[in-house]
């Protein structure tokens, strides 16, 4: 575990981390960007999930909707990851010890696995159910899991701000 601590400490003492931590407005600005992109990311994921459940956009073909929506999800996700990392390095050791933060990362991993399983097993045969208003039950399970996971990720993300020593809530 010494490795981990050494790595976390070197992140925390890096020039980038120090300059963010010392600046009055850098952290709030990065955090605001994080919030805006995460709302876009989760909102667009929900659009796809509701389509899979047959609850919204039911008349749209899945593959067509996916082409319009998912690129924005990935852009927003990329910016959320970058802004998240920038916040993390300012207090790497404390985030690492923070329970809410650990749960959030674990849930992000689960959301990633859920997405991979969906893409590799269910979406691969999208041609079969593309025009149907709702999809095979496995696809619906993946959609429900996705909704539950992302809501929990927002919750634990918000909990981080309340449980850190220098927490901003």
């Amino acid at each position: 575990m010494d490795y981990v601590n050494a790595l976390l400490e070197s992140l925390e003492h890096s020039a980038l981390a120090v300059s963010i931590a010392e600046s009055k407005w850098a952290f709030p600005i990065i955090e605001t960007i994080h919030v805006i992109v995460l709302t876009l990311m989760i909102g667009t994921v929900l659009i796809m999930d509701l389509r899979l459940l047959g609850l919204a956009s039911a008349k749209q073909r899945y593959t067509v909707l996916q082409r319009d929506v998912l690129p924005w999800t990935w852009w927003a996700f990329g910016v959320a990851v970058i802004s998240g990392c920038l916040m993390f390095i300012t207090q790497a050791t404390e985030y690492y010890e923070n329970e809410a933060f650990r749960i959030k990362l674990f849930l992000l991993l689960l959301a990633g696995i859920n997405m991979l399983v969906f893409e590799l097993i269910i979406a691969r045969r999208a041609a079969d159910w593309d025009q149907e208003s709702s999809v095979p039950w496995l696809g619906k399970v993946a959609a429900l899991l996705s909704i539950a996971l992302w809501i929990s990720i927002v919750f634990f993300g918000r909990r981080v701000g309340f449980t850190m020593l220098l927490g901003r809530n």
């Binding site: 407005w25 709030p28 955090e31 605001t32 919030v35 805006i36 995460l38 709302t39 876009l40 989760i42 909102g43 667009t44 929900l46 659009i47 919204a56 956009s57 749209q60 073909r61 067509v64 909707l65 082409r67 319009d68 929506v69 924005w72 809501i151 927002v154 919750f155 918000r158 909990r159 701000g161 309340f162 901003r168 809530n169």
Partner: protein, 164 residues
């Protein structure tokens, strides 16, 4: 203002909300999810109005209809969760300059979103023909999105601004 803050924070509703352990992060989570509904729905309408969306299978009227409902549901959720947060911690918000800026921005953003809705309703049929109406709708679409982003910025900055 101070009298209002004091009175509000001393009401039994206010202390009841504060005393439920962990309720404030839950309310903030609902608030963020409702922002996701509003921002993403508006993004989808904007992309269709700006013709960025590759599929032209959905008309602008259909796209607006599909996502508009979610904007209004989101706004109601935002107002409800926001009001509850204000009642719980009035001293955190009401005297805070970021919060006051946020309220002004909300009024502007809501008005612009409503104007966009009217413009899309009116122009749904002849959208492709009339250049002027198209430009107005595009301008409204972009302005509404920027204004809601500004609302989010002011909202997050409440946590970093000392109440005056």
């Amino acid at each position: 203002m101070l009298a209002l803050v004091r009175w509000l924070s001393e009401t039994s509703t206010s202390s009841a909300i504060r005393e439920i352990d962990g309720l404030i992060p839950v309310l903030q989570t609902i608030h963020i999810l409702a922002i996701a509904m509003v921002m993403s729905s508006l993004l989808m309408i904007d992309l269709r109005v700006l013709q960025v969306t590759k599929s032209q299978t959905q008309s602008i009227a259909d796209a607006a209809h599909r996502f508009e409902t979610w904007i209004w549901i989101g706004l109601v959720l935002l107002a409800a969760s926001g009001a509850t947060l204000i009642i719980a911690e009035p001293q955190r918000t009401l005297p805070n300059s970021s919060f006051q800026t946020k309220i002004v921005l909300i009024a502007l953003a809501a008005a612009t979103t409503y104007a966009l809705r009217i413009s899309l309703r009116r122009n749904a049929e002849f959208f492709s023909v009339s250049g002027k109406a198209t430009r107005a709708a595009k301008l409204l679409a972009v302005s509404a999105f920027i204004l809601w982003c500004a609302v989010a910025v002011a909202g997050r900055f409440i946590a970093y601004t000392q109440p005056t």
